[in-house]
């Protein structure tokens, strides 16, 4: 069993127990800040993910880097100016916010950059409003992306409304529901009868978390014994505690 401690984007400590069968996990995240003006989405990713933007996402676009203490601010814009983004790129993690249009005016960027504090650490990046009066932070999610699973965890208080209203199974100190994934017919037929056609929703005393096992059907052996054991081990050992 491997216990990982992550810091969510709003500063909560999240302890995740995953069995060794789960393999390597890339930790991502998400948070939202709303104050005066529209709410802004920030997605957290491991450092260096932004390197795909100038070549794959905005080929031929422009990029500018501004050095700060402990992180870089990187501004990318598509060649046709149809989209742009601002990245807080720390040594361990990065936070990206998308503008959905050309790069905003300097005044807008100034107020955006001065409104949040970005704190990076090996356990996760944190985004905090510099002046918390009238600013709400919500929708904070810790995402664990493994080779063959996707884990989404959030604070139990924030996710309560999204739970099914019927009773789930009781496993340990959690209540668990399963929900059929929205698959295309070919995939649905291939996965019928296996645990892979479901998404599992856990409600523990401090966290609500979801695990799913997205599959690529191109491999013929996608549901052999090894795979079955792996899914069983991950499901049996998974535990999330959210300490805010």
């Amino acid at each position: 069993m491997i216990q990982t401690e992550r810091i969510s984007a709003d500063g909560a400590r999240v302890r995740i127990n995953l069995p060794e069968e789960a393999g390597a996990v890339a930790w991502h995240g998400h948070t939202r800040l709303a104050g005066q003006g529209p709410a802004r989405n920030y997605s957290i990713a491991p450092a260096g993910r932004h390197r795909a933007i100038p070549t794959k996402i905005f080929p031929g676009g422009s990029g500018k880097t501004y050095r700060r203490m402990g992180f870089d601010l990187i501004l990318y814009e598509a060649a046709d100016r149809s989209n742009s983004c601002l990245i807080w790129a720390g040594p361990y993690n990065e936070a990206t916010t998308w503008f959905g249009g050309p790069v905003p005016k300097p005044a807008v960027l100034n107020s955006l950059v001065t409104s949040v504090t970005f704190t990076d650490s090996a356990d996760g990046a944190q985004l905090t409003p510099r002046n918390p009066v009238g600013v709400q932070q919500y929708g904070t999610v810790v995402l664990g992306i493994g080779h063959e699973f996707l884990l989404m965890a959030k604070d139990a208080r924030a996710g309560r409304d999204a739970l099914p209203n019927w009773q789930g199974a009781v496993i340990g100190n959690s209540e668990v529901w399963k929900e059929r994934l929205d698959l295309d017919p070919k995939q649905r037929d291939a996965l019928a009868g296996t645990p892979l056609e479901w998404r599992y929703i856990y409600a523990s005393p401090t966290s609500i978390f979801t695990i799913a096992f997205p599959q690529r059907l191109d491999s013929a052996e996608f549901w052999n014994k090894k795979e079955r054991d792996r899914v069983t081990a991950v499901m049996a050992g998974l535990k999330v505690e959210w300490d805010s």
């Binding site: 450092a47 260096g48 501004y66 050095r67 700060r68 203490m69 402990g70 601010l73 501004l75 720390g90 040594p91 361990y92 005016k105 300097p106 005044a107 960027l109 100034n110 107020s111 950059v113 001065t114 990076d120 650490s121």
Partner: protein, 173 residues
């Protein structure tokens, strides 16, 4: 008949209250002015490089154009990879900066500097880091180095060299 009758005391109180009001308005106005000059000023260029000056001990020497500072510590394996890949370049002062003598002794074959104060001055929460300092002592570039970083290409980029000039590590571990 006392000197302090009712109307005199009420008017004294009113003077006191209005004095406080003037003070409060003054304080609010001062804070607003400060805000106008900083966060609310649209022409203040906040999206720019942080100006950083390093202590003179890390400046390039006479006849050198830049110093290349490799900020390392004793525990990271990437630090040794970086140190071995760092080239000897004419006109550039290459320094391996470490927090103490004991860890510095593990990095042979080049100029190392063991100074906790200098190290702390540059440290941003991650090692190894590469700093390029110009003749004025200003940080001209700063990069994080990872296990999969192409160090020669990175150094060529930060020092604005042709790629071939920085290739090939010369340091002996």
């Amino acid at each position: 008949m006392g000197f302090m009758n009712l109307s005199v005391s009420v008017s004294l109180l009113a003077v006191l209250v209005s004095g406080f009001a003037v003070l409060a308005i003054g304080a609010v106005y001062a804070r607003l002015r400060k805000l106008e000059h900083t966060a609310l000023n649209p022409s203040s260029a906040r999206l720019e490089d942080l100006a950083r000056q390093v202590p003179p001990a890390l400046w390039p020497g006479p006849g050198q154009s830049h110093s290349l500072i490799l900020l390392m510590d004793g525990t990271c394996s990437t630090c040794h990879t970086l140190w071995e890949a760092a080239p000897d370049l004419a006109g550039i002062r290459v320094i391996g900066l470490l927090p103490d003598e004991r860890t510095a002794s593990r990095f042979g074959g080049g100029t190392t500097l063991a100074d906790p104060d200098l190290w702390r001055n540059l440290y941003e929460g991650y090692t190894p880091c590469v700093y390029v300092v110009d003749t004025a002592g200003t940080v001209a570039d700063r990069r994080y180095v990872y296990g999969d970083t192409d160090v020669p290409a990175l150094l060529a980029e930060v020092l604005r060299l042709p790629v071939t000039a920085a290739q090939g590590g010369t340091r002996v571990h």
